[in-house]
């Protein structure tokens, strides 16, 4: 990711990028609420395998993935994206410890409160009593990881 970011020419397509990102975020936010993914009750009723099991989130993930599966391939027919000089796709293929440990810790947190990052952001406005605490903690967690990684790299 860092190499891809370093290659980005800043401000090459600022207006188009900003408007497209705004549109994408807008679709994402509406999708999170309509799908029920913003509702931690619904998320936990999917993750907790008991008599109340609610499979809705499987449908959300399936529909989103299928849409992207088709749409990405249409987008990749162009040599470049509309507002950048190249695609910035992850190139790593190794299954390493940080990937697995990171996913494990994320899953733990997700299973405790029922928020992954997107729904946590929507909760800052529609359920601020929980959302603000959760997002503040999440940002601290992100910064802590980056701080540790930087120290490790410097050592």
């Amino acid at each position: 990711m860092s190499t891809a970011q370093a290659m980005t020419k800043p401000g090459a397509f600022p207006f188009g990028q900003t408007i497209a990102a705004l549109l994408s975020g807008a679709l994402f936010g509406a999708g999170l609420v309509i799908s029920g993914m913003s509702n931690p009750h619904k998320v936990l009723n999917f993750l907790a395998l008991d008599a109340q099991w609610d499979p809705s989130l499987l449908v959300v993930m399936g529909a989103a993935t299928l849409t992207a599966l088709i749409g990405f391939r249409l987008a990749w027919r162009r040599q470049t994206p509309l507002f950048d000089e190249q695609f910035h796709l992850p190139t790593r293929r190794d299954i390493d410890r940080p990937l697995v440990l990171g996913a494990l810790l994320f899953g733990l947190g997700w299973g405790i409160a029922g928020y992954c990052p997107g729904p946590a952001l929507t909760a800052t406005l529609i359920a601020p009593a929980e959302g603000l605490w959760f997002v503040a903690s999440m940002l601290i967690g992100m910064m802590a990881q980056r701080f540790l990684a930087r120290n490790k790299a410097a050592a």
Partner: protein
């Protein structure tokens, strides 16, 4: 603590398609993975030249989530009484974990799976298993 929810396949599918379209718009126009944790994390690290689209994405997400909820307030009633220490612990884990593992439900889940990425498939299997185990055990032990 737990509130019953019903299986809602139609709204789940509609919302899922919108999330997928968001990822497609992002890929077609910026050429990037629409991963929430990555977009947010990059804003903290603030690499030069990328803050405007990151911020625009987040503003769009916040505005329409609020507007959509206003239009369909029955979509959910905010949870009450969830223990604050658990909420903070969960937030720390989600932030640390998505940063360490380079992705969350959107980046590894929706985008990674549709790119047929093996790394993302592994991440999804691990965080799904961890999420299912955690939620199931917590409910059995504490909230039944």
């Amino acid at each position: 603590m737990t509130e019953l929810t019903t299986f809602t396949p139609a709204s789940a599918a509609l919302g899922g398609v919108l999330i997928g379209l968001a990822a497609v718009v992002f890929m077609a126009s910026l050429g990037r993975i629409a991963g929430i944790s990555g977009i947010l994390g990059g804003l903290i690290a603030s690499p030069r030249g990328s803050w405007s689209w990151r911020l625009a994405f987040l503003i769009g997400l916040l505005l329409t989530s609020l507007a959509t909820w206003r239009l369909m307030p029955d979509a959910f009633v905010p949870r009450e009484g969830f223990p604050l220490p658990l909420l903070i612990l969960a937030g720390l884990l989600v932030g640390f974990g998505t940063s360490l593992g380079n992705g969350c439900t959107s980046g590894h889940g929706v985008c990674g799976l549709s790119r047929l990425s093996v790394r993302s498939l592994v991440a999804v299997m691990v965080f799904m298993a961890a999420g299912v185990a955690t939620a199931t055990i917590l409910r059995m032990v504490f909230w039944s």
